[in-house]
């Protein structure tokens, strides 16, 4: 209760101070372009913006790597393209189809987008998060290599890690995949921790976090593709037979309606995985950013409205942050669980002894429908 009071005091104080500060800004600046700010954050950039002050801008220039059919490979720092500058015939388009991307001017005056493998902000954050993930898992694995089973259970970080691993393995992977879960556990655990680390790093509001990695469609596309491959490469004969020649009346198969639906189903499942993760994380970032921008959007409406909106914005942003922490875990969990369910469904063998085999697929499909 005391904590809450202190907190409210701070919020009110901030509400009183912020308008005073922004009143000055109002004289010189236009209304901020909220849409631009939010989309700019959700999208990608060639520099990693760290901090802006009134007279200087801090950002980390990242390497630009492009290959154009006309001039071959280019590799240089993105600092050379600042303020629309042109370097080696390349520049960042300010408008048009490729706005915000690197383009090369053609001989006829039109712009062409070269093959762009630049280590952009999202890519750099991705690599950073991957290194973090590798370090985390490998340090835990090192502990297990150094300690025997007869030693005491781990404490601290390794203990926390073990709790998560056993929760995922015993609570998700084993019941969803079925008897051959050991083969898929490393992939599913990798996916879980990969998504979790990227989600949580994305919630840290400042450098080196804050990049919208798992809310990027390319990232979720590759994750969904990995699950797609795991499901279909290791699918049993029974799984393929169920798709191509399912147990339905012949007239449904002869006119290939059911096989067609089943075949489309192969792609819709991972597609749903991709969109779910992408949309959830992107929406979370967008909502938090929008709520924060409410403060700056209401500057022109006077001190009273701006002050009260600031309080509202701070409270809602804190609420959203709590929610996003939950979502960060839930989305990693759901992705892992659905991947496990899809893999498990593709691992099923035809039911020979209905008494013993029957409960498992029932359970699988139930969890699948609940989570869907």
């Amino acid at each position: 209760m005391k904590l809450l009071k202190t907190f409210l005091k701070i919020v009110l104080l901030a509400a009183l101070l912020v308008p005073a500060g922004t009143l000055r800004a109002q004289e010189t600046e236009q209304d901020p372009d909220i849409k631009q700010i939010v989309l700019g954050h959700l999208g990608d950039s060639y520099e990693w913006h760290i901090l802006s002050t009134s007279d200087s801008e801090w950002s980390l220039p990242l390497p630009v790597i492009v290959h154009s059919p006309a001039s071959g490979w280019h590799c240089f720092s993105a600092a050379r393209l600042r303020e629309g500058a042109e370097y080696e015939g390349l520049r960042i388009a300010s408008e048009g189809e490729y706005a915000g991307k690197i383009v090369e001017r053609q001989d006829d005056g039109s712009d062409l987008r070269p093959l762009d493998l630049s280590l952009t902000k999202t890519a750099a954050a991705l690599v950073l998060n991957c290194l973090l993930l590798l370090w985390m898992v490998m340090s835990a694995a090192r502990w297990y290599r150094r300690n025997k089973a007869t030693d005491r259970a781990p404490k601290g970080f390794v203990g926390l890690f073990e709790m998560l691993v056993t929760e995922i393995v015993d609570g998700v992977i084993e019941p969803c995949v079925g008897p051959r879960y050991r083969k898929f556990a490393p992939y599913l655990l990798t996916a879980f921790f990969f998504i979790l680390v990227n989600n949580l790093m994305g919630l840290i509001p400042f450098f080196p976090g804050g990049a919208n990695v798992s809310g990027n469609i390319a990232v979720t596309f590759i994750l969904a593709l990995a699950t797609f491959l795991a499901v279909n490469i290791f699918g049993s004969k029974h799984y393929w037979k169920d798709i191509l020649w399912p147990d339905v009346p012949v007239w449904l198969k002869a006119f290939p309606l059911m096989p067609l639906i089943e075949f489309v189903g192969i792609f819709t499942k991972p597609f749903a995985l991709m969109i779910r993760l992408f949309a959830n994380l992107m929406a979370g970032h967008a909502v938090i950013l929008s709520l924060t921008c409410v403060i700056f959007a209401t500057v022109s409406m006077g001190a009273a409205i701006n002050g009260s909106m600031t309080v509202v914005s701070v409270l809602f942003t804190i609420f959203m942050y709590c929610l996003e922490l939950l979502v960060a875990f839930i989305q990693a969990y759901v992705f892992t669980m659905l991947s496990a369910v899809f893999i498990g469904l593709a691992q099923e063998e035809p039911e020979k002894e209905p008494e013993t085999e029957a409960p498992q697929p029932l359970e699988n499909s139930k969890t699948a429908t609940i989570k869907q």
Partner: protein
């Protein structure tokens, strides 16, 4: 629409990063952890079984030790009872023996006293006799100067020695 379009560059980096992470973790990371957790779980299970077994054994041992203690208690009581009886026996024997010995000693003492008194009496008799003789001698030496007195005395002595009116003293 830009957000829904995967960038080729990011696809490349994501494939590379996720591929490397997957290969490393699936080969050197998670299998190690999973194996270790599994083996520790087995160890805990076996330790629990062993603990249960030990507890069971302990319980049997406790019953057995209680039995032994009970038996020992019974035996101790027996021994105590026996010892008590023996003690009483020994005491009675000793008393009996002491009594007999005392009796014997008393007897011996009495006999000794008796013989000693007899000896003392003998000595006294002899002494008295000697004294009497000496006195008599003195008296005789005084009185026999006179004839009448001699005759008188002789006749008195004669009277006295007559068993009829003898009034001599006896040792007792």
């Amino acid at each position: 629409m830009g957000l829904l379009q995967p960038e080729s560059g990011l696809l490349f980096w994501m494939t590379l990063a996720f591929g490397v992470v997957f290969v490393v973790l699936a080969r050197y990371g998670f299998p190690v952890i999973l194996r270790a957790i599994e083996s520790r779980r087995e160890y805990i299970d076996s330790a629990l079984d062993a603990a249960r077994e030990a507890e069971r054994k302990c319980a049997t041992l406790e019953t057995r030790s209680r039995e032994i203690v009970d038996q020992a208690e019974v035996r101790r009581n027996e021994i105590l009872r026996e010892a008590d009886a023996q003690r009483k026996q020994i005491l009675a024997d000793a008393r009996q023996k002491a009594e007999a010995e005392g009796q014997q000693m008393l007897e011996k003492a009495r006999r000794q006293a008796e013989s000693e008194r007899a000896a003392i009496l003998g000595d006294a008799k002899r002494e008295i006799a000697a004294l009497a003789v000496a006195i008599t001698e003195r008296m005789l030496r005084e009185d026999l100067r006179d004839r009448d007195a001699q005759t008188q005395l002789a006749s008195r002595l004669m009277d006295e020695l007559d068993p009829k009116n003898r009034k001599t003293w006896t040792p007792d």
